[in-house]
Symmetry: C2
Subunit: 661 residues, 2 copies
């Protein structure tokens, strides 16, 4: 576990926090009474409310603020869609098996863990101080024990170079590393089997006849892309625009660990922003964010083996081409503002750029918002420029017009070589190869090739073209089948496939990191009297107000109930705690739940309608009549006032004497 | 299609509505560009917003109003959980196959359709007027064509009796009906194969080794039950209480039809209210609802072959034992209030009681809220008393304490026969049968049996007990192994398994029915100029305000943008339509989207800040300064004022002259 400091300067005690989260039912392993299933969790009431508030904030910050088109698409997805998108073939991790105990290992994590253990053993043998490395929950299956054995300097260097590019190896290469370095599973002393790909999508079959294979989506994106044409129409052809979706996705992780950070079922919020690739992907509202300072870790720095970040405005980052374009930069800045709004500790945020070999092959730039936790730096938001890849592959597969057609104010005149097929003759000539040959001729030839072929038709009456999809690899095309002419074309309409900028949020990871960033303890550090506090901002706190009748006196109960109703009418969630516990205990319980405000009803309330208001982080109190207190709470929940404003407006209250009545 | 009248007295034109819903992208078949998959739909922006507003209203009406404990549980569920709950064995429909074309038929729907077609043919042959029967989308695969052939009177009677209890047949019986009546698939003229069960759960496999079978949950309930113990603890042992969950569920329907009404992936909102079965299941807030009048269709009426409803207060229904208990009655009334709040046409609502043979075997009473649509009466909410079934089976399977232990104020003294085992001797004696014999002795014996066995031990030194799980079916127990004594027991703690009342909402079905209930057309009925309107209440309407700049004049655009920001700050969603279309066209478009209010910005606005406000249903307008208009909109959205209040407060505006400028 990495050593992390809380906001209050304490050493973060994850064990204490975990125990508190379990006790207060923020989340819990799913199916626990049946022994549980790794990577599946249930959210209890506070976790569920926190998640709902994060989603609501996200929707306001992104969807409403920018008029995005929110959709809710099917999770069940037929095979063909993910075949086209590349997920059937490529959405896999490499796994190998221990021949002795049958244990299944994720190949890259296994290689990494064994080499790291050897390097640690080397350091111990050399008598160097071994620092606990930050644990990366996405990578380690488990920590391997090190044995103090000194290695040759050259070996150390080789291991370090392998580790630096561990994300870069395919299955064969990982298999070779296992052989070369004689890597054994410490559990059994055996060398695992050669890595094989394991597709991470959950498969099922749709309908009664079992012949329609389907998957649970591993991301919400494809559903949005498939609806692009309808969304563009809904948006009355206006460009650029964005669609957005909030929903569950599924990945069949080989060995899920680290609580909410690597799970098999998770809530995502994704935006697909469609932009014309011409004109440098400008964004009309970029000026609103250009002065925002971000902490960036760019790819050059990482490739040089370092992790030094720089603080730089997004305006300068785009100008210097550190970030590829304005639209990508705009969303990175908006993500930063969102994280700030929900109460993430901004000193524990960085934006890390993907290295070339790490990015999907179609992406042209990608930045992850990473949050520092006791598990290390956690990727919580990805922000990628997916180029025109997705819309293009689905368009090519289905023929659906996933393009934008814009009327040009000024027509454009082009001179170019154009090929026309005689379809009637073409089919009978090429038979089953007709479609693939036609596709090459109509869509794949460059202007240079067309000119050459035109000349050959003229001189020889035919030409030969490479066609990968036919048996001979070539097709001979004679002049009765095609016509190639140099034409003047006047275009009144511009047609293009938009590029997609995709900010993609893992809500569960954000939720967990947010909890860690806001956890601290009151009382002596690590002592028995240490009590947990979760200092969520009022807007995202699961419950906003705890209503505390001083005692079980029956006069208090109708007042408490009515106060709950009034708060509800203001849209503010509250809970009444009329248990017999002391006021102090009841407040402690709610500090653990992150409830920012407490209102106490006492005998004075019955007489004059005044109540006390307590603030969670400072534990200070004010007293005023109920209407004023509710108004104050509303102002703090909607963010228009802070506790210090309220303290200067309403009389302070020192209420200790009440507790002993 | 059943003939349905709109709120405005028009004949409901479903085709016109469907075409409008598609054009405005309320929802759309999922994966349409790949040919689509039956029973899977995507919600476009207005459908998605409508769904979000229904959910928000639901959460306020149920979860917040009653301090329910909301949880969010895993959809992926391991096999064992659904084995215990009975879903693996029983959650199935009967299907048969056409031997010629391989078509898969749902057996009950097939029998029903063929018999109904024959009855229709009989009526035609007799020269009777044939009324189009209401289509039930849950039942028919497709309408079978009738041929005018007269049947014997006795045959007609037999067919009618079969149809009246079609939900009552199992697979064998359906197979016998097919044989007996020689039912053929009209597509092929063939008799389908005997019915076999088809489990409706989607199956998958969890983890890399493929040996953990899992399902997609068909309801959210089980996740809530499994967490009962933790929820009770979270609720500080307080009873009664309710948990609630909103999330997707999945059912692999044999042949989904009828749009959103029968789908394979759907959003549910479910409440599990836990109550002590002792004391008649009273509800503390029942008095708040007892005078609410409901339209009930009870089981006795249905069993007598009628569908006459009666209007009766829920108080009287519970008193007369038409509805089993107060808690069930309370939730039925709360469901009624919810449907009213979201804008359902209450003249198209009835609560239908399940007949004995229709209910799950463990339920003791169940009522469906059914909404009348052009597809007939649609079950949109179920409200069942599930008794202690679920908690009991999971407790028995896992040993988890899914019970309530309440400290008794007055201890209870009981005198009874108690059996004690000598575990040390017992195991060696019975070996592998030990566990099952012990279970019978310790848990299954009645007081009468214990007394008899005590006497036999005394006289014979042993007794013989029936044990189904051992080879001989009996076990002989001697007195060195057990002691049976008549004891006085003082209980300080009452332990019981709560009963569960479950209101369960199909959000997609409610959403569709709500759309139908609020659809009507303006202009001449059925004419080309007929324009659709969706009269949603402001609180659930997808977008609340359309901001309409009179023209593309550049002075209007910043005013529109600022107005959008002000509305956002008030929590009110709006859209700007600055397209070049006429004002009339822009308003028409938004009537189709159900947007209740339109604000027009014109040249007068630039001069004096006044704007016009248009109401969707009446198309009347008022004019005032912006602040007053926004205040009026806010009051109408939060429900504190109606349009007629605003009309009496603000000056009327006749704005036709603006359109021609």
């Amino acid at each position: 576990m990495a050593t992390i400091t809380t906001r209050t300067g304490q050493t973060m005690d994850r064990q204490a926090m975990d125990s508190m989260l379990r006790r207060r039912m923020f989340y819990t392993p799913a199916f626990e009474i049946y022994g549980g299933v790794a990577g599946l969790f249930d959210y209890g009431p506070p976790g569920c409310a926190l998640q709902a508030n994060l989603i609501e904030t996200w929707r306001k910050h992104f969807v409403l603020e920018e008029d995005m088109l929110e959709v809710d698409c099917s999770v069940l997805t037929p095979h063909d869609v993910f075949k086209t998108s590349g997920h059937v073939d490529k959405f896999a991790d490499w796994m190998c098996k221990d021949p002795k105990n049958g244990e299944i290992l994720r190949a890259d994590h296994f290689v990494e863990a064994v080499l790291e253990a050897r390097l640690k053993g080397d350091k111990e043998a050399r008598g160097q101080k071994v620092e606990e490395k930050e644990e990366d929950p996405k990578k380690k299956k488990k920590k391997h024990k090190s044995v103090a054995v000194q290695l040759d300097d050259a070996v150390v260097k080789e291991y370090e170079e392998v580790l630096a590019q561990i994300d870069n190896y395919d299955g064969d290469q990982l298999g070779q590393l296992i052989k070369k370095f004689e890597l054994k599973n410490p559990e059994t002393g055996c060398e695992p089997s050669p890595p094989v790909p394991f597709n991470l999508m959950f498969q099922t079959s749709i309908g009664p006849s079992s012949n329609l294979a389907g998957f649970l989506r591993p991301e919400t994106a494809q559903g949005q892309f498939l609806n692009f044409h309808k969304l563009l129409e809904f948006n009355m052809q206006g460009m650029p625009f964005a669609s957005a979706s909030i929903g569950k996705s599924y990945r069949n992780e080989i060995s899920p660990r680290a609580g909410l950070l690597r799970v098999r079922e998770f809530l995502m919020a994704e935006i697909e922003h469609y932009v014309d690739p011409d004109g440098g992907k400008k964004h009309p509202r970029f000026t609103e964010v250009e002065d925002i300072e971000l902490v960036l870790l760019d790819k050059e720095t990482q490739l040089s083996g370092k992790t030094d970040t720089k603080k730089i405005t997004i305006g300068k980052a785009v100008k210097d081409k550190v970030v590829d374009n304005e639209t990508l930069g705009y969303f990175i800045a908006r993500i930063h503002l969102f994280l700030e709004k929900i109460g993430v500790d901004m000193s524990k945020v960085r934006f890390r750029q993907h290295m070339a070999n790490e990015m999907a092959h179609y992406a042209c730039d990608c930045w992850d918002a990473e949050l520092l936790t006791s598990y290390g730096w956690i990727e919580c938001v990805g922000c990628a420029d997916r180029s025109a890849y997705d819309l293009t592959v689905h368009k090519n597969k289905t023929g659906a017009p996933l393009v934008v057609r814009e009327k040009l104010n000024e027509p454009i005149t082009e001179h170019k070589w154009v090929l026309e097929l005689d379809k009637k003759k073409f089919g009978p000539q090429f038979k089953k190869d007709g479609k693939v040959v036609a596709e090459v001729l109509e869509e794949r030839l460059t202007q240079e090739q067309l000119e050459t072929f035109a000349n050959e038709l003229e001189s020889n009456g035919s030409f030969v073209v490479d066609v990968a999809g036919v048996a001979s690899g070539k097709a001979t095309v004679s002049k009765d089948l095609v016509k190639i002419e140099y034409k003047t074309i006047v275009k009144h309409v511009k047609e293009y496939t938009p590029n997609v900028i995709e900010p993609s949020f893992g809500i569960g990871r954000i939720l967990y990191s947010l909890i860690e960033h806001n956890f601290w303890t009151r009382g002596s550090e690590g002592g028995d009297d240490a009590r947990g506090v979760l200092s969520f901002p009022p807007s995202v706190a699961p419950t906003k107000v705890l209503i505390v009748p001083l005692s079980k006196n029956e006069e208090f109960s109708p007042i408490a109930r009515k106060m709950g109703q009034k708060l509800r009418a203001l849209g503010i969630s509250s809970r009444v705690d009329d248990s017999g516990a002391t006021i102090g205990k009841r407040y402690s319980r709610n500090d653990e739940l992150g409830t920012p405000f407490g209102i106490t009803i006492d005998f004075q309330t019955v007489k004059d309608g005044s109540v006390t208001l307590r603030e969670r982080d400072s534990t200070t109190q004010v007293r005023a009549d109920e209407a004023k207190i509710l108004e104050a709470v509303q102002a703090m929940v909607n963010g228009s006032k802070l506790w210090k404003d309220i303290q200067s407006e309403l009389p302070k209250f020192e209420g200790q004497e009440l507790e002993v009545r």
